[in-house]
């Protein structure tokens, strides 16, 4: 007898949330605290930073000494996932090289992210250049939710009064490190503004919260934090929501599709359990997708029915389109002035201490929009790759005796060089606005399924000259900053042949825009509350709804929009509209 069956639960939840990252976590948090009975489905396994973080481990506790062999950001990084997942492929069209990062775990990619928490500004929502569509909402609409997120989760920074870099409600920022002072001086000479970073790390106790402790400055946010000193969806949203008694979480639940009634309303979700490989169906009065911009688009496109022949929420045909990821390019080198520097603990916080917000006027440039700059360097914990550049660097500056020597070497003199160069490293990377284009998209590949039999995504993404010229500008700026601070560049100089070091789309892991919001149902999938035009009890709370991302990292905006959507849901429920 065949064991195949679909296990249907008789429970009807007030809402089913798909995904436990920033968007899903926030929606579940708000709804569960308002007394709604919520079911959350997470494709990956359970993860709790308190128990599962590799924080404070030493390099020798990893047989590969922290190398990125099994985890792209190193052996201690808090991601169960990467750009490639066994048995879960994606494909490319027209020689695209989109790279899709997925974390299969409770909290998703919020466990390992850089905690850089920037608000989008008024011009990001309503671009003045008219090149891309405006959002159907303004900064003023989102500001109250950014404020609430700041207070609820905690963020450090400084009020700067910059119009398109809106200030938040900030805790005290971490002090700059030595290399950051060199950067500040050099960047200013190069005409680049440098301000205090903004990160979701508790530099002070969070008022009215007994679950989270302040940062103890190990600089390891990427490993996730055992004392919940930074923002992870698992520690700050999902676990507290579970504590209300109103949220049930099912892990290892890989969603196949949203099930709709004959009249086209969403009634539930079907999923496959990754462990027992059985099929399940759960019911809810609402379905809220927060599976990530691309995964939620995939679910919608795979949810075809007679009422939604084009896929759910896709009568406009825009689902999957307007995919865009931040641009990224970088330069690195070392500061000879810092050779033989004094040793002390400068781990600091695991997010940025400083950054450069976009500072130029596009009327004088040959590309639209802009980028911000993130910086690094200093006396970090050794890991696989340590000392890799020393055998080139030791031929670039005079030795102890003041004479130049041959690059390379071995023995006591090389050992001395490793010590001399330690902590001199410095580098910077741009994160810029990529234009949302209809021609950059993901769609269902009709020929390919993953190991669960779910049709996979196929990507079509090309950088345009707007992004390439922006990367060229980044390189010129970075080299100028390096020069002004007296740094020696060791990374390869990038030219037109490599698109000026512009990384493949998907590499920055800020992909957004695939289920965009708008007032016109013919040109958008969602209304301005992230509610599907075609299906009133379906919402999307990840980065899918973004019309156009600024150069700012997406997470803080995902949190604010998800909170706004969850409050809208509660208000609509009260009015019995949904």
């Amino acid at each position: 007898m065949s064991d195949f069956q679909i296990k249907k639960s008789p429970t009807v939840y007030d809402a089913i949330v798909v995904g436990s990252g920033a968007g899903g976590g926030m929606a579940a948090y708000v709804l569960a605290h308002a007394g709604q009975k919520v079911l959350m489905l997470e494709a990956g396994q359970n993860f709790d930073p308190r128990l599962d973080s590799h924080q404070l481990k030493w390099p020798w506790e990893s047989p590969r000494r922290g190398a990125g062999t099994v985890r792209p950001f190193g052996d201690f990084d808090a991601s169960y996932g990467g750009w490639e997942l066994e048995g879960e492929p994606y494909t490319q069209k027209n020689k695209s090289e989109f790279e899709w990062f997925r974390s299969r775990m409770l909290g998703g990619r919020t466990n390992h992210w850089g905690r850089i928490s920037l608000r989008m500004g008024p011009d990001d929502f309503k671009p003045k250049d008219g090149l891309t569509d405006s959002w159907p909402i303004t900064y003023a609409d989102v500001k109250p939710f950014y404020d609430k997120v700041d207070r609820m989760i905690g963020i450090y920074g400084t009020a700067e009064g910059l119009e398109n870099e809106p200030d938040g409600i900030f805790m005290k920022p971490p002090k700059p490190r030595l290399n950051e002072l060199f950067i500040k001086k050099g960047a200013e000479k190069a005409g680049v503004k440098v301000i205090t970073g903004r990160g979701s790390v508790l530099t002070e106790a969070l008022p009215n919260n007994n679950d989270r402790a302040p940062c103890f400055y190990c600089g390891q946010c990427g490993r996730s934090c055992k004392v919940y000193g930074d923002f992870s969806s698992s520690s700050c949203l999902v676990n507290p929501a579970v504590k209300t008694g109103n949220l049930t979480v099912i892990t290892d639940a890989m969603v196949r599709e949203v099930i709709t009634d004959k009249d086209g309303t969403a009634k539930g979700v079907s999923y496959v359990n990754r462990k027992d490989l059985q099929e399940y169906q759960v019911n809810g009065k609402l379905v809220i997708l927060g599976a990530s911009a691309c995964e939620s688009a995939r679910i919608l496109l795979n949810s075809k029915s007679t009422s939604h022949p084009n896929g759910l929420a896709n009568s406009s045909g825009v689902v999957g389109k307007y995919l865009h990821d931040s641009t990224g390019a970088s330069v690195s080198g070392f500061l000879p002035q810092l050779m033989d520097r004094k040793r002390y603990n400068e781990d600091g916080v695991g997010s940025v201490h400083i950054y450069s917000p976009w500072w130029l006027d596009n009327r004088k440039l040959n590309f639209p929009r802009g980028y911000h700059i993130e910086y690094w360097g200093g006396m970090g914990m050794p890991a696989y790759g340590f000392g890799g550049g020393v055998a080139q660097m030791n031929g670039m500056v005079p030795g102890r005796d003041g004479k130049m020597k041959e690059a390379g070497g071995y023995g006591k003199s090389l050992k001395d060089d490793y010590r001399r160069f330690y902590g001199t490293g410095v580098g910077m990377a741009g994160r810029g606005t990529a234009i949302a284009r209809e021609s950059n998209y993901c769609e269902i590949d009709p020929n390919t399924v993953d190991k669960y039999g779910i049709p996979v995504l196929r990507f079509n993404y090309k950088w345009d000259k707007d992004e390439i010229l922006q990367a060229k500008h980044m390189q010129e700026t970075f080299l100028s900053i390096m020069k002004e601070m007296g740094a020696v560049v060791t990374s390869e100089i990038q030219g037109a042949d490599t698109n000026y070091g512009l990384l493949n789309p998907g590499k920055i892991i800020h992909e957004v825009g695939t289920i965009r919001m708008g007032d016109d149902p013919k040109k958008s999938a969602l209304n301005k509350y992230c509610q599907a035009h075609d299906c009133k009890n379906l919402f999307v709370v990840d980065a899918g709804p973004f019309v156009q991302q600024g150069d700012k990292n997406a997470t803080w905006t995902i949190l604010a929009l998800s909170m706004r959507t969850a409050e809208y849901i509660l208000a609509q429920k009260k009015k019995q509209n949904i």
């Binding site: 064991d3 190990c218 892990t251 639940a253 890799g388």
Partner: protein
Amino acid sequence: MNRRDSLKALGLTAISTTVLLDACKQPEAKTEVAAPEESAKEAGREQWELDRDKNLKSETFFTKHEMATLTVLADIIIPKDEVSGSASDAKVPEFIEFIVKDIPEHKTPMRGGLKWLDLYSFNKFQKPFIEASADQQISIVDEIAYPKKARPEMQAGVAFFNRMRNLTASGFYTTEMGVKDIGYVGNAPNQWTGVPPDVLKQYGMENVKI
């Protein structure tokens, strides 16, 4: 607080892969989820990572002769000095044995490079590298340790030595001995209050404000 209590305190008992099973017909051959003792021992790791490490550790890549050659080379690159021990004191050869299996791109260049070294030594001194005298060994290393100065025909040896030097540094400075040598003093709870005043003064950064 033990694992069970902290789980309870965090409300995680509501998180389960099997919440719905009660409501459903059980499959005939239901497999048990991993035993809790095992996951407690290896928190924060996926099962496939643990299995992969176990498999790598059960394999042997380098021959005894290759390991002996690696050890000599590693100690030429990082010898004992007044600050710390040698590469082999820090078990660098054992690390290299693991890492070439973990990152298989290293395998052929390392094996081939060691072979190149022996052949070069044999042609020059009629002995494999480890049987050559210390002076003879150093004379060969001098020909491949300086990429810009090396003769063009030594390029294969230079490429091998670059890789060997990098793996040796990786293996050494990621041990307790190496971390102590290099002077990394972080990875401990502390209060970061900024650059120490004497350091600010040393670099004339007292007045630089962000």
